[in-house]
Structures are given as structure tokens and as C-alpha cells.
């Protein structure tokens, strides 16, 4: 009886062993071709040269694919102990498989009928990280296990542990313990304290949710668990654990939130990836020299952050807590170099780059393009008299359009320069009606605008989607007296040996004659001195400048685009959901109140300490003082005078009692700002 039982047991064991062996063999033969080859050395994983991105000042502002592999003896032993205690307490005694952990995990998985626990050793995790996807599948687990066994047979324990420490992800973009130590504590991995080592050792398990930058409490709870496991594994005593918990963690400030260059960098990376391929950018070991001026970018970020806080307080709370967004672009006129590109308030919260997206209406900031087209096509000048009154324009037989001024105020007769300074919609609509939208589109293209522009009369009011980058580019053509410099972000790219792979050359193209552009430039200076953009003067910006505000229907977009001799900048403010910007008093935000203060703050800080440079007056231009309500040359009895810049060949007329002359007025009185002509927005102090 005993013998039979004995034989049965023996036979069962034998059968089980044979069955497992056979099954393993069949599985192996099935998986054989899917098992990856192991490299000769695990150091191979860190051989990639990083790509460095530089600012225009020559400082490294971003490193792509950077790893800081360190040998095991340059990693704090506390960290390796913490890692072993947490991830694989029998690391030095198994050969790739921890039977106890595996059996425990199998029981739990069978109980839950899903893979809830891995029971993976450090070797298995390394195998997974180097070769396999992160899908939780039995087959993948088996392959991972086989490769782990091979790794154990090929490399020493220390080599495996070193490779694991150098490639595991710790969250916040940090791969490897050295990188993680720098990101979280600003120190080398060899200098980690017990508490810091325990915190880092707890991160690979949940690098995002237990990240001290995202959830400090959870990170500390995990750290306590790690320390307890270290005590259980006899790496530290309970007293040491308590002492460690008493120490200061010395966590550094999060980099991402305070880095204002992210939008610019992402724009550069996307652009280069599109042009040369992702591999070239991330694995080329390049040096990319960009046009970014980090000082100006910092000022733009400050201006946006400060003014957005003011506006947040002023605004009605949104239904879903949506916050206002802003974008800033600044170009160097002489070269077209993009010195500032800020695509939103905070890259960490929203990566959508509003500075280059062309889905927002330009509003009145598009009007200078309309005026330039009209002056070129109709031969009119800033001194030409226009009539501002309600008008009905026929779009097609039986279909009409009645453009209305802001606040539905009409001024009667006034000259073209004053019309732009007051941003009158009726005048702009009449001009587009006379010259056709196609002519305006042609001018916009000449100024470098590439977005789709519909050939509609509403172009007069800027009812077309453009990007702040395009607007800054178009305005820089005005500041440049007709020369278009294609905006660019990359000066030069070098490989790791210093060979130049790409270099930017300046292709300044004279798109308009200087004397055609200058009258418009002068009109836009009028906007800043006495028109809708005069808020920037009240904020203390004193440099000679031109610009234009823009506010779209129902206050959905607010713009201020402007330029000095050297820099053109465009500022946009609005909601991503394209809802109206209405404050607690029920008033809408305009370009003058929402965007112009950002522009003024940014430009004031950016040009601090720099001398004021005037715009050169080209040959063939003269200045004259005229009556803004009649267009006649001003005389002593003129009530409302305005100074205009006109081409020499423009004939000005004396009031009816005198003869027609080509007046030349060498000395002009300074312009006195007229507060009546300023938009009634309250400009908050920054």
C-alpha cells in the first residue's frame, strides 16, 4: 500500500517535472525568434551623445537625451541599499528569479485572476526596461524572465545594479540616479543623505504620482516605507530611520515651472524634427545655436505673469475655472531673429503654443495692412479726407454689410491718419471695399503673412486667423521701412566635431519702397502717441514706437502689436475656448487694456538703459501740419491740427481762400497727447 502511494507520488512528481520541462521547451521554441540579442556591454545603453541647445548669449538652455551615467562607486551606498531593500531584497542571492517573491506574486495573481503583482527582480526590471514594452502580458513576462536569466549568466551583479541605477526613470524627466539627484536635490548621487536616498529609491515604482514636485505627502509616505524596508533588511537600524526622518530633505525648486524658455525650445525642436527627422535632433549629438534672448524672454514671462494676475482678479470667474492665456513674440527687425517666443502663461500647465498658432482673429491690429494697401492702390495719403458715418456696403446683389465703429461712435470728416489712430471700422471697411480684399491679401503676403486669408470684406476688421509670430513679422516690415527679413530661430547647427551642418543667412528683401512705408509708420506712431495705443506712454514707455491695438468681436481676442526701431513685438490675450473676456463690471477686455500693458512692461524692461533711437526718414518724405477735419494745410485758425508724413509728390491744399501749394514745413510743433482720443480702458499698474 505504502509502496503504491510512494510510486504514485514519485510518478506524479516525475510527470509534473517532465510536463513543465516539455512545456518550457515548447514555449522556448515558440519564443526563440522573438527573444532579443543582448549587447556585449551594459554600458552601451548610455553611449548616446546629448544634443545641446544654446541661447543667443551662448548659454546651454536645454540638453536633449542627456544621461549622467556613473559607476557604482560614485553612487551613495545608502541609495543602492534602499533600492535593493525596496525592489529586490534577495538581489545578491538569486540568479535572476526570486522564487519566494515569484511564488507570492503568483498566488496573489491567481487570487485576483490578473497580473497585479510582478514579483520582478531588479534584473527582470532591467530586462524589461531595455528590451520590452510595458504591457502586462504573460508572454512578455516569460521573455523578460528568460533575458533576465541570460543577463545573470553574462554580467556580474554589480554591473546589473549599476546599469539599473543609471537608466531607471525617476520622474520629472530624470533618467538615472545622478540625473535624479541633480533634479531633485541639486547634488551628486554620491552625496545623497539617507532620507534623500530613500526618497529616490521610492520613485521608480510611481515616478509621477509619488513625485515630490507633484505630491510631496505621497512621496514622503513612500520614503517612510522604503526606510522601514531598509530596517527590515538590516541595512539601517530603527534609530537611524528615525534620525533620517528628522533631517531636512533639501528639495530644490521645480525647474519646469520657472523655465520660461520651454515654448521657444519646443518650437525649435518641433521645427528641426520636421525638417531633419527626430533621430537627427535627439541622437545626433548636435550643438544648436538659437536666436533666443533669455533676458528678454524672462521679461516677457514676467510681464505676462504679472498682468495676468491683475486680469484674473478683474475677471468674472469662468464656468470651468478656465484662466486667461497670453502669447508674446518679439523679433529683431534688422535680422528677423526671434528673440522671444512665449506661447502661454505656463508651459507646465499647457503646452499649446499660442505664439505660433494661427487660429485667433487679428482684429484691428490688421488695419495697418489695409491702410497700406489702400495708400498704394488708390494713391491716397495720411492727409486724405475720409467720411466716417454709418454705411451700407453691397457685398453681392441683394446682400449688404453694415460695418459699425467701436461703441457705434462716428466722427464725420477726418483725415486718414486720424482714422487709423481712432481705429475706425467704417473707414477701414470703405477702403477694403474700394480696393478689394484680394488686394489686401496681396499686401499681407508681401508682409510675410502666410495663414489662409479669406477674400472677404471683413478683412477690414481683421476677421482672419493669424499668429502673433506672423503679426510681429508683418510689423517688423513696417519698422524696417519695407524690408522683410524672414523670422528664424536657428542661427547655426554643428555636429559634435564642430562641423557646421546648417547656418542661417539673412535674406532681407525690400518688399515695399521706403517712402511708401514711412507714411504708415508715422500713422502708427500717432496711434501710440495719441490714439488707442497711447496707454503704453502712460505706462512710461518713452522710446519712439509705432503700434496698433486689436480687439475682436465680443472681446474674444485682445492684441497689441508694435515696434521700435530695433524690435517688433506682438502680444495676444484671450481664452483658449474663445469665449468673451468680460470683467466683473461687465466690461470687455480690449487690446489697450489686456495686451498693451504686457507689451509696455516687456519693452520697457527690455530696452532699459538703451538709448532712444528714432526711425530714419527716407528721401522723398516731408512732414506737414494739416487740419484733421478738412485735410487742408493748417493755419492759425485751424482748430484740430495733425502732423502727417507724406510723399513729396502729394499735393496739399490751403484752405479755400488761399492758393494750392506744395507746402513744406520744416519746423513742427511737438504733438500734445489728446486724452479724449484714448480708449476708456483702465490700465492696471504692473
Amino acid at each position: 500500500m505504502k509502496r503504491r502511494l510512494f510510486e504514485k507520488i514519485a510518478f506524479s512528481i516525475f510527470t509534473a517535472v517532465m510536463a513543465v520541462s516539455l512545456l518550457s521547451l515548447v514555449l522556448y521554441l515558440d519564443l526563440k525568434d522573438e527573444l532579443p540579442q543582448l549587447p556585449d556591454s551594459l554600458e552601451k545603453i548610455n553611449l548616446s551623445l546629448p544634443t545641446e541647445i544654446y541661447s543667443s548669449e551662448g548659454n546651454v538652455i536645454k540638453v536633449l537625451g542627456q544621461r549622467h551615467p556613473v559607476p557604482l562607486d560614485e553612487i551613495s551606498p545608502r541609495f543602492t541599499q534602499a533600492m535593493i531593500a525596496t525592489e529586490d531584497s534577495r538581489f545578491y542571492s538569486h540568479n535572476g528569479v526570486d522564487h519566494i517573491a515569484l511564488a507570492r506574486a503568483m498566488v496573489r495573481n491567481l487570487q485576483s485572476m490578473r497580473i497585479s503583482q510582478g514579483g520582478s527582480t531588479i534584473t527582470q526590471q532591467l530586462s524589461k526596461n531595455l528590451f520590452f514594452s510595458f504591457e502586462r502580458k504573460w508572454i512578455r513576462k516569460l521573455k523578460e524572465l528568460l533575458i533576465a536569466l541570460q543577463m545573470e549568466a553574462t554580467f556580474t551583479k554589480d554591473e546589473i545594479l549599476e546599469a539599473y541605477c543609471n537608466q531607471v526613470y525617476f520622474g520629472s524627466g530624470a533618467y538615472g540616479v545622478e540625473d535624479a539627484s541633480l533634479v531633485y536635490f541639486g547634488k551628486r548621487a554620491k552625496d545623497l543623505t539617507l532620507l534623500q536616498a530613500a526618497l529616490l529609491a521610492g520613485l521608480p515604482n510611481s515616478p509621477n504620482s509619488a513625485n515630490p514636485f507633484n505630491n510631496f505627502e505621497r512621496a514622503m509616505n513612500r520614503t517612510r516605507t522604503v526606510l522601514k524596508r531598509m530596517v527590515r533588511s538590516n541595512f539601517i537600524s530603527p534609530i537611524q530611520m528615525e534620525e533620517a526622518l528628522e533631517t531636512d530633505l533639501e528639495l530644490v525648486l521645480r525647474r519646469l515651472q520657472s523655465n520660461p524658455n520651454q515654448y521657444f525650445l519646443q518650437f525649435v525642436i518641433d521645427k528641426l524634427e520636421k525638417e531633419y527627422g527626430k533621430e537627427f535632433v535627439h541622437f545626433g549629438g548636435l550643438k544648436i545655436f538659437t536666436t533666443l534672448d533669455t533676458r528678454l524672454q524672462q521679461y516677457a514671462q514676467q510681464a505676462v505673469t504679472t498682468h495676468m494676475k491683475v486680469l484674473d482678479r478683474r475677471m468674472r470667474p469662468g464656468e470651468d475655472g478656465e484662466r486667461l492665456q497670453a502669447a508674446v513674440v518679439a523679433l529683431e527687425n534688422k535680422t528677423g531673429a526671434i528673440r522671444v517666443l512665449l506661447g502661454g502663461r505656463d508651459f507646465a500647465q499647457s503646452q499649446f503654443n499660442r505664439a505660433v498658432s494661427n487660429n485667433r482673429m487679428a482684429g484691428s491690429s490688421f488695419k495697418p495692412i489695409v491702410y497700406l494697401s489702400a495708400m498704394e492702390t488708390l494713391g491716397i495719403s495720411p492727409a486724405t479726407l475720409m467720411r466716417d458715418e454709418p454705411v451700407v456696403l453691397e457685398i453681392s446683389p441683394g446682400k449688404t454689410w453694415e460695418p459699425k465703429n467701436f461703441n457705434e461712435t462716428y466722427y464725420g470728416d477726418l483725415v486718414l491718419k486720424r482714422a487709423l489712430m481712432k481705429s475706425l471700422n467704417v473707414i477701414s471697411a470703405k477702403l477694403v471695399y474700394d480696393i478689394t480684399p484680394e488686394r489686401v491679401i496681396k499686401t499681407a503676403r508681401q508682409m510675410g503673412i502666410t495663414s489662409d486669408l479669406g477674400p472677404h470684406l471683413s478683412l477690414a476688421l481683421g476677421a482672419t486667423g493669424v499668429s502673433p509670430l506672423e503679426m510681429a513679422g508683418a510689423y517688423s516690415v513696417i519698422a524696417n521701412l519695407g524690408i522683410l527679413n524672414e523670422p528664424y530661430v536657428v542661427e547655426r547647427i554643428e555636429d559634435f566635431r564642430g562641423n557646421t551642418l546648417y547656418e542661417h543667412f539673412y535674406f532681407g528683401v525690400q518688399r515695399f519702397s521706403q517712402k511708401s512705408i514711412y507714411p504708415l509708420l508715422d500713422m502708427m506712431r500717432g496711434v501710440v502717441e495719441e490714439g488707442t495705443g497711447s496707454g503704453i506712454r502712460r505706462m512710461g514707455f518713452r522710446h519712439p514706437a509705432g503700434g496698433k491695438t486689436g480687439t475682436t468681436n465680443d472681446y474674444k481676442d485682445a492684441w497689441f502689436d508694435g515696434f521700435t526701431k530695433d524690435i517688433s513685438a506682438s502680444v495676444w490675450v484671450g481664452y483658449d475656448s474663445n469665449v468673451s473676456m468680460i470683467d466683473r463690471q461687465g466690461r470687455g477686455l480690449t487690446g489697450g487694456s489686456a495686451a498693451a500693458p504686457i507689451w509696455a512692461y516687456f519693452m520697457k524692461k527690455g530696452l532699459q538703459g538703451k538709448s532712444q533711437v528714432n526711425f530714419p526718414v527716407p528721401e522723398g518724405i516731408r512732414f506737414a501740419e494739416i487740419d484733421e477735419e478738412t485735410g487742408f494745410i493748417a493755419n492759425l485758425s485751424t482748430r484740430k491740427k495733425i502732423r502727417v508724413a507724406i510723399k513729396n509728390e502729394v499735393v496739399l491744399t490751403l484752405p479755400p481762400s488761399t492758393d494750392s501749394v506744395q507746402g513744406f514745413f520744416p519746423s513742427i510743433d511737438p504733438i500734445i497727447p489728446n486724452p479724449q482720443n484714448i480708449e476708456e480702458d483702465v490700465l492696471p499698474e504692473l
Binding site: 509502496r3 510512494f6 510510486e7 514519485a10 512528481i13 516525475f14 517535472v17 526563440k32 525568434d33 522573438e34 527573444l35 532579443p36 540579442q37 543582448l38 549587447p39 552601451k44 545603453i45 553611449l47 548616446s48 538569486h94 540568479n95 535572476g96 528569479v97 522564487h99 526596461n129 531595455l130 528590451f131 520590452f132 528568460l146 533575458i147 536569466l149 541570460q150 543577463m151 545573470e152 549568466a153 553574462t154 531633419y276 527627422g277 527626430k278 533621430e279 537627427f280 535627439h282 541622437f283 545626433g284 549629438g285 535680422t335 542661427e491 555636429d495 562641423n499 557646421t500 551642418l501 546648417y502 547656418e503 542661417h504 543667412f505 539673412y506 535674406f507 532681407g508 528683401v509
Partner: protein, 302 residues
């Protein structure tokens, strides 16, 4: 009932001992893991390079290939620029999609190399001196936008110190028609009746004013500098040209370093009138009897 023999019990014991030994070896010696691991290590080289670690390797290779292709293209462009032999070729190789870049040294070499005044029509030597005076001029970039050619004299920041704008049409019609032909005047398309020895041509030249001489004939210094000896001169009217009146070309044949060469130059319209008034060129029509292109002028033709 048969009792099992010692042998039967021994089999069972051996079997159990063997099993126990295997389990012990696995528990204490990890034989299965070691065995599988070593087997996989042994046949490692037969397996494919799959997975993230190899993918990264491939990405690095792709990146390196891209870099190499860019460098090759740039080197080819540089070599192509360096191989340019004349100012004319510099413009000929220019296309709207292919800008030309030459070093300052190369530009100056070409500028002073060609014996005509083309280079000096583009930019005067005094202007070049001025551009060079700030010691910042590094390279010259030629670009074409439509019919316009821009010559940018750029510094080490790639910023243009000076830009010169030219009409490509104007360049093509006038100055760029200068050329050096390897061969004789006859091979260059000059009719036998329109060729005369240099000494005879000089007699006609002497009848022209100083400015006309200068505009018609290349700077003699070029021939002296290169030790070239002028032998004959030919004149031909480009009757196939679309332009009216047809342009007139002057061919100066000389003995070059290795070959006989002909320097072909356009004759400015005003000078050609003057020249042709003294030298009658027959219409190149085979049906007509050849007439001396030099009309009544007899000189040393016989």
C-alpha cells in the same frame, strides 16, 4: 502477495534521491536558472537585435547617416565653389534654389582673374576696398530671387556688410556673354573671312578713341601677367540672336598654358557701330560669295 524485492525498493529510493538532488541543486545551486541562462548566452548571437536598446542604436545610426549626408552635400558645394574658374561661372551656377557661396579669397581671385570689366561693373574695386577695410568680410553669398541677383558680402556672423543687387537679365545679355573657348577662332564659330592677324586689328583699334579701346579690348595686363601671346582677332555678328540689332562678338585668340584659346567678348553697341563702320562684316549666308569683313581696308591681309 508478492513483497517487493530489494531491487524494487532501491529503484524507488534512487528515483527519490535523484529528485531530491535535483531539487537541492535548484534550491541551493540554481541549476535551472544557470543552465537556461548559459544556454541563452551561448546562442545569443543567433537572435535578432530587438528592443529599445537596439532601437536607440538604430536611431543613432539614422542620425549619423543624416549628418554624414549633410556634410557630404556641404563638401560638394564647397568643392564646386572652389572649382569655379571664372566670374562668369559664378553666376552661371546660380539658380533660385541653389545659392552660391565663395570665400573672400576665392571671390577676389575670380574678381581679378577675368580680363574684362564684368567684375568691376558688378562692384567697383574701390568699393571692395571699403568692404574689406573693416577686416570683417569673410565670404560672399550669391542668391537669386526671380530676376534679381543679390551679392551679399557677409561677415563671420553671416550678416551682410554690403549687398549689391543685379538684374539677371541684364547680366545675361551683356556682361555674362564673356567666355573663354578652348580652341581656335574657327572652332569658336568665327568665319574664316572675319579673322585677321592681331597686328592688323591693332591698326583698326588705333583709329578708335581711348575710351572705346578700353571698352572693346580686355586689359592687356592680363595677357602679360599670364604670359599669353595674342595671335589673331575675329569678329562675328550673332545673327541667330533674338535681339535686334544682333549683338557683335569679338574673339581674341591667344596661346594659353597648354592650348590655343579664344577670349570671347561682347562688343558694346556704341563701339560696334563705330567698329563696323570701318569693318564691314558680310552676312553669313553660304549662298553669297564671301566678302572680306574688313571692307576696303587692305592692310597686311594679302
Amino acid at each position: 502477495m508478492n513483497k517487493p524485492g530489494i531491487l524494487g525498493n532501491l529503484n524507488g529510493i534512487v528515483f527519490f534521491v535523484a529528485l531530491l538532488a535535483i531539487f537541492s541543486l535548484e534550491i541551493f545551486g540554481k541549476v535551472v536558472e544557470r543552465g537556461v541562462g548559459n544556454y541563452l548566452k551561448w546562442e545569443n548571437h543567433t537572435r535578432p537585435q530587438l528592443g529599445r536598446i537596439w532601437e536607440r542604436d538604430r536611431e543613432k545610426i539614422v542620425a549619423q547617416k543624416k549628418i554624414e549626408s549633410i556634410l557630404t552635400r556641404l563638401n560638394t558645394q564647397e568643392q564646386s565653389s572652389e572649382s569655379i574658374q571664372s566670374f562668369k561661372e559664378l553666376f552661371e551656377k546660380l539658380h533660385p534654389s541653389v545659392p552660391q557661396m565663395v570665400s573672400r579669397k576665392k571671390f577676389l581671385q575670380l574678381y581679378f582673374e577675368f580680363p574684362e570689366h564684368l567684375a568691376q561693373k558688378v562692384v567697383s574695386p574701390y568699393e571692395l576696398l571699403e568692404i574689406d577695410s573693416n577686416r570683417d568680410w569673410q565670404r560672399v553669398l550669391l542668391t537669386q530671387f526671380g530676376e534679381w541677383i543679390t551679392i551679399s558680402f557677409i561677415n563671420n556672423q553671416n550678416f551682410p556688410i554690403r549687398e549689391v543687387f543685379l538684374s539677371s537679365e541684364g547680366m545675361g545679355e551683356n556682361s555674362l556673354s564673356q567666355d573663354i573657348f578652348q580652341g581656335t577662332l574657327e572652332e569658336a564659330g568665327f568665319g574664316a573671312t572675319s579673322i585677321l592677324p592681331f597686328a592688323d586689328f591693332m591698326r583698326v583699334m588705333k583709329t578708335l578713341g581711348y575710351d572705346a579701346q578700353k571698352n572693346l579690348f580686355p586689359d592687356p595686363q592680363w595677357f602679360f601677367k599670364k604670359n599669353y601671346h595674342v595671335s589673331r582677332v575675329g569678329i562675328k555678328e550673332e545673327v541667330d540672336s533674338d535681339v535686334y540689332p544682333p549683338p557683335v562678338k569679338l574673339g581674341v585668340e591667344y596661346q594659353g598654358d597648354f592650348y590655343t584659346e579664344v577670349l570671347i567678348l561682347p562688343v558694346p553697341a556704341l563701339i560696334s557701330d563705330n567698329l563696323l563702320s570701318q569693318i564691314e562684316i558680310p552676312v553669313q549666308d553660304d549662298s553669297l560669295e564671301a566678302v572680306s569683313p574688313f571692307g576696303d581696308y587692305q592692310g597686311d591681309l594679302n
